[in-house]
């Protein structure tokens, strides 16, 4: 089986739930447009229907068919996206990561301020900080698209758009053009791509 790029998105229940799901879904849909094999799904164990609870969303991208049956969590994430920066204090977000991963954080603070709370930061190849709240405004609090419901708002209308731009710049897993096809707020996507601060480590 070919290498599967695993992307884990950490977000907060209800208030930023849709934003986290949008990041995972849009990455998968953009890679799908490039002809890759993709999966995107929520974590059911986290019980996301409580305000502010830490929840995970997953995406997988591969050049060949993904043969991970009955694997409902990304055990070895290659890219970790943190939608709310305070989560680095509450959760070991890099758990399971192999050497050379990438961390993307939504924050207006410096990477050092974030990394001092990451216990296993030597695993990281790069850390990227983008002020998604400042670029796209407040998060869209919306339940559309939840548990198979129709998504009336569309992918990437809120802070997910600049975060996706940051992921594209920091990892190169998907191109900006294919993301722009699936994301609703394309100007915010491009601003996130331009304004993200990527710091290489090691």
């Amino acid at each position: 089986m070919a290498h599967v790029h695993e992307i884990t998105v950490w977000t907060r229940g209800v208030v930023k739930d849709k934003e986290g799901r949008d990041v995972a879904q849009a990455l998968a849909q953009a890679a799908d447009k490039e002809g890759k094999y993709v999966q995107a799904f929520d974590n059911y164990v986290d019980l996301p229907d409580r305000v502010n609870v830490p929840v995970r969303k997953y995406a997988r991208i591969s050049d060949q068919e993904i043969e991970m049956r009955y694997d409902y969590e990304n055990e070895r994430p290659e890219v970790v996206v943190v939608v709310d920066a305070t989560m680095v204090k509450g959760v070991n977000v890099l758990r399971g990561m192999a050497q050379g991963g990438v961390l993307v954080v939504n924050t207006d603070r410096k990477p050092e301020d974030i990394l001092k709370f990451v216990p296993n930061k030597e695993l990281l190849k790069a850390v990227a900080c983008v002020d998604a709240d400042g670029i796209a405004g407040t998060a869209t609090v919306d339940f559309s698209g939840t548990e198979g419901g129709v998504d009336a708002v569309g992918l990437g209308a809120g802070i997910a758009a600049p975060l996706l731009g940051a992921v594209a710049r920091a990892t190169g897993l998907v191109t900006l053009d294919s993301l722009a096809e699936v994301v609703k707020n394309a100007p915010a996507l491009r601003r996130g791509y331009d304004e993200v601060m990527v710091h290489s480590l090691n």
Binding site: V53, P54, T86, K89, N92, K116
Partner: protein, 108 residues
């Protein structure tokens, strides 16, 4: 704790033992984005924060004659900041503080 074999472990919300004092299987400190900060000079010990906190994260330390905050379980709902009568409580962003790191080794 119950003596459950590893392969029969139930995830959170299935079964947790009744807490005696603190509930070690449901630590909620990592839900917090903002935290209440107390100015003991302004506090007149009206006990509103102790009464209104939904999770009992404020308690009165009778020896020190001041209220004490529990960082391990405070979810940052800021009800106490709303209910404070003397404006001794204010909200502050969690990343401004080095302390208050609350991690569950196994999430749920």
């Amino acid at each position: 704790m119950f003596n459950i074999p590893k392969e029969r472990e139930v995830p959170f919300a299935g079964v947790t033992p009744a807490p005696v004092g603190e509930q070690p299987m449901m630590i909620t400190g990592n839900w917090r984005t903002f935290r209440p900060v107390i100015d003991h000079e302004l506090c007149n010990l009206c006990m509103n924060c102790v009464v209104y906190c939904p999770d009992g994260c404020w308690r009165l330390d009778e020896a020190e004659e001041q209220v004490v905050w529990n960082a391990k379980y405070c979810k940052g709902c800021l009800v106490c900041v709303n209910e404070c009568t003397t404006e001794a409580l204010n909200k502050a962003h969690e990343l401004d503080f080095e302390d208050g790191v609350v991690r569950l080794e196994k999430l749920f």
